[in-house]
Amino acid sequence: MAEITLKHIVKRYGDGFPAVNDVSLDIADGEFMILVGPSGCGKSTLLRMIVGLEDITSGDLLIGGQRVNDKAPRDRNLAMVFQNYALYPHLSVYENIAFPLRLRKNMSDDEIREKVEKAAEMLELTEHLDRKPSNLSGGQRQRVAMGRAIVRDADAFLFDEPLSNLDAKLRGQMRTEILRMQRRLGITTVYVTHDQTEAMTLGDRVALLRKGELQQVASPRELYEQPVNMFVAGFIGSPPMNFVPARMDGARMELPFVSFEVPDQLREPIGDREWVIVGIRPERFEDVALMDSDKLGRGVEFEGKVDVVEWLGNEQYAYLPYDMPQISSEGMQEIESDLGGETMQPQLVVALDPASRLDDGSTAKIWFDPTRLHVFDVATGENLTVAVPATT
């Protein structure tokens, strides 16, 4: 058990480009920390630096208060589960799990058997102990990889996208198992993923990276409700947050499809900016037809033409195109490309109650509460409606 502290960690490859740039992070003892971000954001590199498979260019890495920058992986006492599991194909499941224990000189065969069997029982692998990895299913291989980590009494677990090779159903199941195991063992865990569902469901805290730089470290709830910038807001949430350019006209805010009085709490953050980007989560919208007049009065309603409706059973998504005014800035374009070019779409995604009877091609009356908006700076993408600063 140990806390892991990263102080101004930098990783530079031969071309001088920083893959990880000045990342500082405190991972508490027993905490489940998620590193998440789009591909190429440096999250795996960061994990590999923690475990010792990559050199740290500059900065300090402390495990349990001790600087370990120059220690070999074997001396850091960390257990890692690889994306491809990296099981030893020539060894049985039993020997795979026993492998780390056999490398220690001071452990008897009986002790090893006891530990391996205990881990196997916990992971429901007991009946497969004699089999070779090639005869196991994907989920079982995943469990063997976890077993190899568990037996070690390691100071921390590191996971590198461990579920990305499993099919959707199994992934959900293994996710719960990993969470249960972590809670039960109470061991410090660092978990790399690009899947935001994993990030949100597993983590005590989530660290979101972009181009090697830490954007925000926060609990999943805070990350969702208080994103520090457009990048975080656009990355977390599915379907993603709607970003709509808005022009300020005195006390009124003009969106391409509606204009309304700026709520009091937004006035000060917006200041004298002429243009801002407004962020609205799809589920903040409601179908006017299903609302009581009481609530209706507290928000703004507008009309829009529904392009298509996706019905999912427990909810449905309606897509409403609108005319996008021409504003763009370098900062925004960058965010746009980092998020896969889908941030600023000339259409609204609206999550509706399944009871809503809106159809493809129909004209919809949609309502939202302007006090629940996020407002972002056009140039920097910074969230003006969040008081908390970006760094921890």
């Binding site: 074997r74 030893y88 005869n135 090779n165």
Partner: protein, 276 residues
């Protein structure tokens, strides 16, 4: 129906090739069982009276038995050394970044392509000067030189196929680089090592040019070289059938090795190592 027609064609084609390749071998076996006195005069492909005489002749001949000993000793030692050296070299090439790696690989290839005949003269003189002419070591050194490049190339190809994560996992699990190499990489590379070892062994076992040029007596002469010095049971007898018997004897280890390790060579031990 089309499918069956093509597969019939493949069968015919395969049989043709098999016949073409096997004919000299079968002829060799057939001749080795014929009587040395009558094989010229008697007609028919197969011997009329099967006889083991030729085999007893060659095994009674000191020339052959000592050559067999030399061949086995030299080939085994050269193979072992070559495999061990090549294993480390190939591992370094596959896994480590170091200056001159490209140069090393292309030099190795160049040496493999070097015409051996051009070396015979200088080697002959050098070996006599050094006093290792007509010794085992005198053959082992050039065999190593010619076998190593190809061994390094084939083995580094095998090493590259082993997922690097395997080794990193071992390191994280607490293994030293040496332990990771010995406990994970070597077992996984075993098929590659076997393949290389067998190929090297065949090369040393079959080599003729250096074997005739750098030896002069029973001390180091290997079987391919010795065969050319062969006479029959008496000097009035034609040696052809005896040579054939000797050839069959030296072919046997090759065939046995291939049959023994064929599955080992083909079986991909790494299947199931990663993903699902």
């Amino acid at each position: 129906m089309d499918g069956r027609k093509t597969s019939n064609w493949w069968t015919v084609w395969g049989l043709l090739i098999l016949a073409w390749a096997a004919f000299p071998l079968i002829w060799m076996v057939s001749l080795s069982f014929k009587s040395p006195d009558t094989f010229r005069t008697s007609s028919g492909f197969w011997p009329k009276d099967w006889t083991w005489d030729n085999y007893s002749t060659v095994f009674r001949d000191e020339l052959f038995t000592s050559a067999l000993r030399n061949s086995a000793g030299i080939a085994v030692i050269a193979t072992l050394l070559s495999v061990i050296i090549a294993m480390f070299a190939a591992y370094a090439i596959a896994r480590l970044e170091f200056r001159g790696k490209k140069l090393l690989l292309s030099m190795a290839l160049a040496i493999a392509m070097f015409p051996q005949a051009a070396l015979v003269g200088p080697l002959f003189n050098m070996w006599r000067g050094l006093g290792i002419y007509d010794t085992w070591i005198g053959l082992i050194i050039p065999y190593l030189t010619f076998a190593l490049p190809l061994s390094i190339w084939t083995m580094s190809a095998f090493f590259r196929q082993i997922p690097w994560e395997m080794e990193q996992a071992a390191q994280v699990d607490g293994a030293t680089p040496w332990q990771a190499f010995r406990k994970v990489i070597v077992p996984l590379a075993a098929p590659g090592v076997f393949t290389t070892a067998i190929l090297t062994f065949f090369f040393c076992w079959n080599e003729f040019l250096l074997a005739t040029s750098l030896t002069s007596t029973d001390r180091a002469r290997t079987v391919p070289a010795a065969l050319s010095f062969f006479t029959g049971a008496s000097q009035f007898e034609s040696p052809v059938t005896a040579i054939m018997a000797a050839s069959v004897v030296v072919t046997i280890p090759v065939v046995v090795l291939v049959l023994l390790f064929q599955r080992r060579i083909v079986a991909g031990l790494t299947s199931g190592a990663v993903k699902g």
